[in-house]
C-alpha cells in the first residue's frame, strides 16, 4: 500500500515535471511540445467545459480559447504551480464567464437539443434495445439537469473532483479558495445531487 502510494506520488511529480517541462520547451519556441500538451489535455479540457456549459459547440470554442491562451502565455510562463492547475484555472474562468455572460441563456433549450447527441451514438454502438436507449437517455438527462442546477462554483468543484479526480488542494488552487471551502462546496453539492438522484438507486 505504502509502495503504491509512493509510486503514485512519484508518478504525479513526474507528470507535473513533464507537463511543466513541455510548457517550458514551448516557451523556448518548440511548437512540437505544444502539440504534445494539446494531445494530452484536449479531451479532459473539452469534457470539463462540456459538462460545465452543457453544449458541445460552446465547450469546444472555449477549449480552443484555453489552448490559445496557454500558447499566448508561453513567453511569460513560469512553472509555479502544476500545469493542469494553471490550465484548469483558465478553463474554469472562461466557463464561469461564459455562463455569466448569458451563453447559458438557452441552456434549457440546449439540454433538450443536445440530449441525444452522444448517448445515441454510444448506445447505438452497443446495439441496445429501444427501451434500453430510452432509459439510458432519460438517466443521462436527469444527471445533466441535476448538475446544471448546482451553483457554478459547486458545479466546477464536483466536475473536477469526480471526472478529473483532482485533489482538494488542486481544486482549491483552481477556484482560488481554501481547501476547507472546497470540502464544504463539495459536501453541499453532493448533498443536492444525492437528494435529486436518490431514486436512481
Amino acid at each position: 500500500m505504502v509502495e503504491r502510494v509512493k509510486t503514485g506520488i512519484s508518478v504525479a511529480v513526474a507528470t507535473l515535471d513533464f507537463d511543466a517541462e513541455l510548457m517550458l520547451r514551448v516557451k523556448e519556441g518548440d511548437g512540437a511540445s505544444f502539440g504534445v500538451l494539446l494531445e494530452k489535455h484536449r479531451t479532459p479540457v473539452v469534457n470539463f467545459l462540456y459538462r460545465m456549459v452543457q453544449n458541445h459547440a460552446v465547450a469546444e470554442e472555449l477549449a480552443q480559447e484555453v489552448f490559445l491562451r496557454v500558447y499566448r502565455s508561453r513567453g511569460t510562463y513560469e512553472p509555479t504551480a502544476r500545469f493542469t492547475t494553471w490550465m484548469f484555472r483558465i478553463a474554469t474562468h472562461l466557463a464561469l464567464n461564459a455562463l455569466r455572460d448569458g451563453k447559458n441563456d438557452r441552456l434549457q433549450e440546449r439540454l433538450d437539443d443536445d440530449s441525444g447527441e452522444l448517448p445515441v451514438k454510444q448506445v447505438f454502438d452497443r446495439r441496445p434495445s429501444v427501451e434500453q436507449s430510452m432509459v439510458y437517455e432519460a438517466k443521462m438527462d436527469e444527471v445533466r439537469r441535476a448538475i446544471s442546477v448546482l451553483p457554478e462554483k459547486q458545479r466546477a468543484a464536483v466536475l473536477m473532483h469526480k471526472y478529473e479526480e483532482m485533489e482538494y488542494s488542486q481544486i482549491a488552487k483552481v477556484l482560488n479558495c481554501s481547501e476547507s471551502a472546497v470540502k464544504s462546496l463539495l459536501f453541499r453539492a453532493y448533498e443536492t445531487l444525492r437528494a435529486r438522484l436518490a431514486h436512481m438507486a
Binding site: E60, L68, Y136, Y190, L193, A201
Partner: protein, 174 residues
Amino acid sequence: MKVKVMMNCPLKTPENAHLLLDYCARQLELESMSVLERHIAVCSACRNFTSGQRTVWQAMDTWEAAPVSPDFDRLLFRRIEVQVSWWDLLLRPFTTVTLRRGLSAAAMTCLLLVAGILLESPVVSPVPVTTGVMQGVVQVDTVQPEQVERALDAMEVLDQFSQHLRAERPGSKL
C-alpha cells in the same frame, strides 16, 4: 489520508464530513477505511450517506462526454497561425539573425531616439550615447512635465514591443 479521531460520527463533525466522500472514493488509507467501515456498520446516517453517494457517482458515470471534433486541432492551429502571421507581418523587417541578436541594443537605441524627439525642447543637448547602449544619458536643460510623461509612455511601448520581439523566436511558429 488518515482518520485520527473516529469517536464522533463524521456527519456530526463538519470538518470530518469529507472523510465519507474519500471513503466512497476509496481514497483513504487501509487503516482509516476499516475504522470508518466499523463506524458505518453501526451508524445508519453514514450508511445512508455512503449508499446515496455511490448512487450519485454511478449515475454520474453514465454521463459520457461527446468525442472531440476531428477538426478541433485544425481550427486551433488556424487561430494560432492567424495570430502568429500578424506578428510575422509586423516583425518581417526584423527577422535576420544579426538583428535578433542585437535586438535589445537596437530597441534601446530606438527608445533613446524617440525620447529625444518627443522631448523636442528648444535647447536639447544631443543624445550622448556612450560606449554601451545601457549607459546612454540624455541631458535636457528644460523639460516640461507633459514631455516627461510622453517620453515615459513611449519608453513603455517600446519596452513591450521589445519583449514581444524576444518572445517571437524563429522556431515558435507552429
